[in-house]
Amino acid sequence: MSAVDYDVIVVGAGFGGPVAAKRCAEAGLSTLILERASTPGQKVISSCTIPFYGFLFGPQWIRDGDPPIERPITGIRNFFVRDGKVYATDNSFRVPGPLANRLAIGYTVYCRPFCTWLAERAVEAGAELRTSVAAVDVIMESGAVKGVVTDGGEELRCRLLIDAEGVQNILARKAGIRKTYRPEAVELCLLYDFKMAKEDIDRICGYQIEYYWAMPEEKIIAPLGEGSAVYIFPYRESIHMTIGRFLKGEEGVPVLAKELDAYYRRFFQVDRWREMYAPRTELRARIWDTCPIYAGLYQDMRSMPTFGDGVLLIGDAAGLEAAAIADGVPSAWFSAEMAAETAIEALRAGDTGASFLSRYQRRLEEHPLIPALISDTHRRDLAWARWSGDEAEMRRRVNQGWGIRLMGHLALPVLRAVYREMRRDPRVLKNWLDMFNRYHRLYA
């Protein structure tokens, strides 16, 4: 057997990788993080509102730390558009008035500062971070992953690989563990970032994210079920806007450059945008990326393994994005911690074989939130409203998925997670409240 360079190599310093690396390093494992960008997060594109459950049930050190958050989010405002005008609003999902200064349903963040902050914490814990290095292949010996090959041709050997490379799955495919996500499961999102004065954002968006929904003839979004709403997420002194469409729909593979631009052009004519936003915003960035949002809805995608001999997959690489709410950061964090825990046990036991590592997949399946999030069909089922051509049906379904009735299906998994944490340590309740307060101060 050849010597190893590290106990654990983590590929990717996005949202998941540093969380796994920190935990491994704290357990005394020699841990290397490889990141192909020159700065962590510079190649991560996201909308990005991280829901509260990521912070409550994710890594304690994020919860109790001072991460670079942009703005607390206290609710969702759904706008319904017809003939270029907002004709109805559903803002039933929000923190009730008196608590809105204390609680939040999520926080917006920029990926570069946030992932940099995460990676710095991993390095503080003893992990080594190498940036500007892409892992281009895996070292395989008798069917087991033994390390990676870098783009500089260097062979780095490890006892266990944690693959946090995101949606493209290059290494996991090379290791023969996964295949590419099917195009019906992957959404391409085109994102605009606008500068906007804080006072204007406070007055117009406040602390709520905005979704704009419409029937297909309006042409401001992809056909219902085959894309997202138009999202506007308020940051500190900017807003993020996203329109997305799956790479394949009922009519095959769309001409996305044309379609997405056309949606934006039409949306910029909608009365609310024209009157409230257009005079007060200045375009700063135009960026795009893919996310495997429906991976959990297709049996063949969902049943792909999340581990192999010598390797564990986390986050987008493991297909853990939420199919309706479209958040992937919480599951990246949850899976990162479970993968690290499994890695620590495996190295202690001296067994990194697939059968030992299979406990990781079991943990994912038994997690109180992950299975519920990745199998939520509300977004895809919006297609029923399109097929029926009934606007009332669209509003009813939006209310179920992004209005107050969201509580109906989110409450149980969240309560299960609360119960699990409280049973471990009842004082966690105080930590949660402290977190909301501290984040509020971080923002102010």
């Binding site: 190649k43 920029y110 940036t131 290059i170 769309p254 375009l283 960035a285």
Partner: protein
């Protein structure tokens, strides 16, 4: 100073050109279906004699849409050399 590229229609992003190409097309597998051209927002591909080919990687944001829609497995998608390719402060 490293050489960086910017484009007026894609503000907020800069590119350090990769010294090696990172997306290639296996002409023997390509069926000329054009899916890669349809989904690419960066104009990376063109069709020539009923086969797709890489025209320019200059604006590629490494999203891999081309990989996901290629049914014949002709698109080989890899990463630009570490530290190169696109980067943005606003993701």
């Amino acid at each position: 100073m490293e050489e960086t590229l910017r484009f007026e229609d894609i503000p907020g992003v800069e590119w350090v050109p990769s010294p090696r190409p990172f997306i290639t097309i296996d002409a023997s597998k390509c069926t000329g279906c054009g899916n890669c051209l349809r989904v690419c927002l960066a104009g990376v591909f063109r069709l020539r004699e009923k086969k797709a080919e890489v025209a320019s990687l200059e604006r590629c944001m490494e999203c891999a849409s081309c990989l996901f829609v290629c049914e014949s497995g002709a698109v080989d998608f890899g990463w630009p050399v570490g530290g190169t390719g696109y980067r943005s402060e606003w993701g």
